[in-house]
Subunit: 228 residues, 2 copies
């Protein structure tokens, strides 16, 4: 049985990935990062999900690092933009080098517990905005991981099974695997309900609509995809 | 003037690197990691040194991550071995993937302040024990960094100017640059004075002796290089 550390945000993508890998027989070790994100709901969602999955779960608190990094997702004086994902308005949601930071810590953890894989839920729809979701990034970082460990250690390697999926594909896969989508959290703004207006909520609404799967999410703004 | 984030531990190597780069005209931004190391003296040393150098200094606290990572340097129930560096007895001092973790956070910081370089003091003497001090590691991680950022960001790249030096060479360079070696901290054990018996202290003693430079360090054990 493959041991796999999975970076689990509590969002729709990484939750579906956890169900997908469990279905494929991986023994999962979930790792959730508190990087000072405004939406604490994400972390609570992750905790609920790993209880449902009955898998190991650790929280890595790197929130003290947030003051070093410039992004609307961590700084309270930068406003999260409304509207649909697009390079111009979503630039401020890029936490610089976030994936490399999370993956390098996950790799240290994987090495400690002798897990072969680190799984993360990068998908095709992210590539346009986030350079560090591309297959090129995963491939080059794996080369660095191979160099980072000597042969007598287990060398954990990154896998990104959804890298050629878009979010609609992920919703379809999750629906088949009976993922409890209602427990996942996407909204960048934080609150009791998903706002329904930020980039990630619009993407979520659209994915369910295009997948033809009922969307169980409660939104403040229940209207259709908001184009800003 | 080149802007450079330097990973400064407060040890002999990174302190000498700071003086070396300042001498070459870099505008330095020191970054010190608290990764839960036992030797807090290192961090105090780093603070004293950046005051002397009159450069910016930030501390990145990733100590909460230490429970995920298995090493004698961070776990209180694993004993730091005495003796000279050698693969067998020093394996337990390897914090898994430590350099990638520190460099990825430093790269996020560098991107935020638009610095071109991330400098770290890996040197030739480390390669035998620490795979993640080798030029191969630096080169492959730089490829991942190039992939991690889109073109409209400053893409910070790692430099390791001492990668072909051994510790004796570093002492010689530092002596020329009038580095206040007495302010630096090497000992893995922690205490008021350097213990003089752990692997890094032996390496330090030997480097001064081979460089023909007076060693200003106060050791508990002042005897010659201890071969365990």
């Amino acid at each position: 049985m493959k041991k796999t550390v999975i970076i689990l945000s509590g969002g729709l993508d990484s939750t579906t990935l956890a169900y997908y890998l469990k279905d494929k027989g991986h023994k999962l070790y979930a790792l959730t990062f508190n990087y000072g994100q405004k939406q604490k709901e994400e972390i609570s969602a992750a905790l609920t999900i790993t209880k449902q999955l009955k898998i190991s779960h650790k929280i890595a608190d790197i929130s003290s690092v947030k003051d070093l990094l410039k992004s609307a997702l961590t700084k309270s004086d930068i406003k999260v933009p409304d509207g649909h994902y697009a390079a111009n308005n979503m630039k401020s949601t890029v936490v610089p080098n976030r994936n490399m930071i999370m993956l390098s810590i996950a790799a240290g953890y994987a090495s400690s517990i002798e897990a072969e894989n680190i799984a993360f839920a990068a998908h095709g729809g992210d590539h346009f905005i986030y350079a560090d979701c591309r297959p090129l990034f995963v491939d080059t970082l794996n080369q660095a991981l191979i160099a980072s460990f000597y042969d007598d250690n287990v060398k954990p390697l990154i896998i990104a099974p959804f890298s050629n999926f878009n979010k609609t594909d992920i919703v379809k896969v999750g629906h088949t695997l009976k993922v409890p989508f209602e427990l996942t959290w996407s909204c960048y703004k934080g609150g009791k309900k998903h706002c329904g207006r930020c980039g990630t909520d619009n993407e979520r609404k659209e994915a369910f609509r295009l997948a033809g799967v009922p969307d169980p999410t409660e939104y403040e703004d229940e209207t259709g995809v908001f184009r800003g």
